[in-house]
Symmetry: C2
Subunit: 268 residues, 2 copies
């Protein structure tokens, strides 16, 4: 939807795993061609965007390379993990005429499926590009131009730096939101009737797709363990302060959280 | 603002601790009278709403009872904790002609001050009323009618049940959001540039006023300790699953969180 709005001259094709999903794409007129066949979709393509679960991307890339891609075709992805994806894909492209560059547009929600699609999903959102020593300049330039054209703000960093940061500001908060939801509601479904918007916002992402999220977790396990441990240890320190009525300690904890949170730029 | 919109015939007076705050109320024409003097504001009142920190409410109530209140005056409050407030206030009103009933409108945000005031703040939000054996029927009826007139949805439960539920769906999630913010950003302010709307929503309430929140925490300490311990233990179990690559356990954890979160009614 965003490509059709911002790049109306683009010829868009969509690959889907299931025939019914390809039919749905056709019904919604989201693409000139929608198919479950990789060659039907990729023959002649000059930009391919992998939007499948991260663990499947290397195999997908090999199938795509077997199609008759356009000269200078660039392949990128939208995976939430970059180290494992880029490490798996860089070698696949070592001798290919097509080039790969990792991308992570930080856009989306807890919802899944075409009904949740929004034309302005990418407007003003951050897209992290993760070039490596193997990345070709032309691939980086084409990926930059593409994400900017659909209104993303760009950041560039190494795949490992990406995974470190995103474990802290996305993956760990997701798992914590799940832990909060369970602790709040598990033995106490009556609490559900009392929830306000604070709880709704704090736990919104816990409604995300468990299959997608467990895939992400195992691909970025080490960084996520470090971040979850840090949050868990913070909760243990907090608990100790509550138990010994450490008023100064609690106040320092709340002051520090507010001061860090106040530095987060507002929603765009 | 909501009273002026939905109860335009009401004569509204506002008490403020600081002269400058009373002046600000006058400048914004939010009340017929704004003053730092309790009698100036409360003489003749038939409904008084305590909006000061919970620990100050009993003293405030005594000062208010010394004013010349209208016959059948009802006093209520907006405190986020009800057990300690109601326990402190019920005896104050034992021999008074005015009557007390505890209220907790679950509306607000991480923001403070008149600039954050919104006329539709209460629209469709839940207000929990906490009657006790000492509550007079007329007080409950007047409080119900008032909150409904400014568009709140009502729930009624005992002060202890309120504190139990709200510790789980508000106070603990607040403290967890603070722990997540610190764990994500403390040694890593560079992660700030990567944040998306998931992090913004999950940690929004961590920007709340530390003074207000530490007051709430100490007034509802026992229930909060139980809820924080439950969340902390959930994080420890999660960490163990990540460390031993327990794929089934993680999937169960994410499935359970999604299924509980999906039962939360949507924002109104």
């Amino acid at each position: 939807m965003a490509i059709r709005k911002y790049l109306p001259q683009a010829h868009v094709r969509i690959w889907a795993r299931r025939e019914s999903a390809a039919e749905d794409v056709k019904r919604r007129e989201l693409a000139a061609i929608a198919s479950t066949d990789v060659r039907t979709v990729c023959d002649g393509a000059d930009l391919v965007i992998l939007c499948t679960p991260v663990a499947t991307m290397a195999e997908q890339a090999k199938e795509i390379l077997a199609a008759s891609l356009a000269d200078n075709c660039v392949i990128t992805d939208v995976g939430s993990v970059k180290g494992s994806v880029v490490n798996a894909l860089d070698p696949v492209f070592a001798n290919a005429s097509a080039a790969f560059i990792g991308s992570h547009p930080m856009a989306g929600s807890e919802k899944a499926g075409l009904d949740a699609a929004k034309v302005d999903l990418f407007d003003g959102k951050t897209c992290i590009l993760t070039p490596t020593l193997f990345t070709r300049d032309a691939a980086l330039a084409k990926a930059r131009a593409f994400w900017q054209s659909i209104q993303c703000r760009l950041l560039e960093m190494s795949p490992d730096e990406h995974d470190h940061n995103v474990a802290r500001i996305s993956h760990m908060p997701h798992l914590t939101a799940a832990a909060v939801t369970i602790a709040a509601l598990k033995n106490d479904p009556g609490a559900t009737q009392c929830v306000g918007n604070g709880f709704r916002n704090t736990t919104r992402i816990a409604a995300g797709d468990p299959g997608l999220w467990s895939g992400i977790v195992w691909e970025n396990r080490d960084e996520i363990i470090a971040a979850v441990r840090s949050a868990r240890d913070g909760m243990s320190e907090l608990l100790a302060m509550l138990e010994k009525v450490d008023e100064k300690g609690l106040r320092r904890f709340l002051d520090e959280a507010k001061s860090l949170r106040d530095q987060v730029p507002d929603k765009v």
